[in-house]
Amino acid sequence: MKQELYACVHAAEFPAQALLRLRTELESEPVAILEGRPPLETVCSLNRLAHLKGAVHGMTRLEAEDIAGLRLLARSEESEDTARAAFLECAAHFSPRMEDASYGTACACLLDIAGTERLFGPPETLAERLRASLAAAGFRSSIAIGANFHTARLKAAATRGITVIPRKQEATALSKLPLAVLRLSEDHAETFAIWGIQTLGELAALPEVDLIARLGPQAAEWRSLALGSLPHTFQPIQAEFSLKEFCDFAPPIDQTESLLFVAARMIDCLIARAAARAFSLALLVIHMELEGGRVYRRVIRPALPTTDRKFLLKLLQLEIAAYPPQAAILLLRITADPGQSSKVQLGLFAPQTPEPSRLDVTIARLKAIAGEDRVGSPVLEDSHRPGSFHMESFAVAAPPTQDPPRMALRRFRPPLPVRVELRDLKPVAFRDNERRFKVSAAYGPWKTSGCWWSADGWTAEEWDVLAETATGSSVACLLVRNHRPSAHNRSVWQLEAFYD
């Protein structure tokens, strides 16, 4: 029978972590996160430096503002959602079976890591790699590994760093944890306080029957939790794969350097998440909300999907230089589309062409010099208007190998006279001496004329017609309506040819 083994990853103070993970410049500052409706905001999360400064949860804004040097930020739900998705996705790289165990301001998940030893090594190694992976994504986390689901969960929430609980040592591992980790109601916590029970070890030592008799059936669950023996039915979730990063700026920023500093970190995270699934970034959508309610949106589409951070950042820098935001930036959201990593097979005798990623940067620079609509490939329009063309973005296309086959005409000489039924001046049906054709589509008229000054002049309308016969087979044919000036402008319809 497979032995159970769980790894719990716990990120405390998640509102603060979600806001600070992309703002590395704030790492060295004490930061407290406020939630609630002004002016009744209270501190809901804080970082370690803020804690050292004396800030605590539940503090009001006025109290927090009294602490010198404490930076106050507003809680951002979108930041937390984005960060939670990144957190779960990062953890999901180590096991496909994952259960969300977040509560309060903490983000936590448990991984079923039974059987992963051959892939990631012993539990200690897996925990170190998992913690390093989360740290690279900007999360501080504690990890506990144990054979019991709840033991791992409680231990990770109550300790820092990495803890590996040996089998059948769960009660010992939990014995020194305070009762608060059980999240008891105030009445029950007070009862235990009166009894002098302060740790899980002391709770586990109480006789089960007497405990249930005094506190009810839920006491048996608490005791099992304290003993590390409470069973759990695993409810796995699927981590959503979405390449999205969000940063809320408070106060708004107006310097491009500051914006690019944060954007670089966001692009780093997106690249890492895409690369973990063997993807590249095919498209970046930059969305900013500016002061005054304005919205700034640009799309960066590299020629080939890439994971080159410098290249993407350069494209972003050039884009922002060409189209600078017109007001201070309140928030920045970057979403990316994953794409398959580019694989280009170069031919030995194929002509040399510009390197796609380098060409992208060059074209972005050229657009910054000449203008967005003035760099590209000219495309002629289907018009006789003099000088009609439009510009399309330049891309190195594979050289055409061979022209595709063209439709050919099979003519009737002389042309077959036909009787045509018209509706709104367009043919809807026609018949020759033998068959009747129902027109399904008619393209035209293409009017031609010539030699009007001589006796053999002509004036004709050509129609390309898709028609169906009575038997259901479809044909494409060329119908011509000849106008004969000599015959009192009478016109004659003829079936000139079939497209064959």
Binding site: P351, E355, P378, V379, P399
Partner: protein
């Protein structure tokens, strides 16, 4: 008896004031050329325009400068290569380029203009030179045509001086084409021949797009 090498050194040192290294053959580098797709001009240039250097095509209006440049581009793009046209005067005509056989999809066209609302005002020529520099650094373009009215002085390795001759007079109703003359004003990589010599010249003709359609 002195050896052949000693004799050669002796003779060369004696003639040095008139003919430096008289008996030592000059080193010649065979440079890669790209045909212009106009046989007469290719013959004049010993195969085509040299690759990797600046070539300058000069001349008055209707002297065939643009036709010659487009013929070069058509040849390159037909071979699957990509080219760039930096247009300082915004004078490029996409229709006649397509009619000349240029595959427009393989042509990057940079249209310079005098000022941008979001950028510092700069002249078209500054923009064109800047764009040309960027494209040369990017690499991978088989040919880069910089269109500009005139340069005061150039360091081009090859200078072709174009001149109009006369219109083709095959038809009385439409313009059939034009005859041009092209003269090689400078060819740095061609071995110099002592003494004054008239620069080599050649004539060529270009037909109109409709004439080409008719003959096709």
């Amino acid at each position: 008896m002195p050896s052949a090498a000693a004799l050669r050194i002796q003779i060369e040192s004696a003639l040095e004031h008139r003919y430096p290294a008289a008996l030592t053959p000059l080193e010649r580098t065979i440079r890669e050329t790209a045909p212009t797709c106009i046989p007469q001009v290719d013959a004049l240039l010993n195969g085509g325009l040299p690759v990797g250097v600046i070539s300058e095509i000069t001349g008055p209006e209707s002297s065939g400068r643009t036709s010659l440049a487009l013929a070069c581009l058509a040849g390159h793009t037909a071979g699957g290569r990509v080219c760039a046209r930096v247009d300082a005067c915004d004078a490029f005509d996409a229709e006649s380029a397509a009619a000349s056989g240029v595959r427009l999809r393989q042509l990057l066209w940079v249209r310079c203009r005098s000022a941008l609302p979001t950028a510092k005002p700069s002249s078209c020529l500054d923009q064109a030179l800047c764009a040309t520099d960027l494209l040369l650094q990017a690499g991978g373009f088989a040919a880069l045509v910089l269109g500009q009215d005139a340069f005061a002085q150039s360091s081009a390795a090859v200078v072709l001086e174009c001149a109009p001759l006369a219109a083709l007079a095959a038809s009385q109703t439409v313009l059939d084409g034009y005859n041009y003359q092209v003269r090689s004003g400078r060819q740095r990589f061609t071995p110099s021949i002592n003494g004054p010599r008239k620069p080599p010249a050649s004539t060529w003709s270009a037909t109109s797009a409709w004439e080409r359609e008719k003959s096709a």
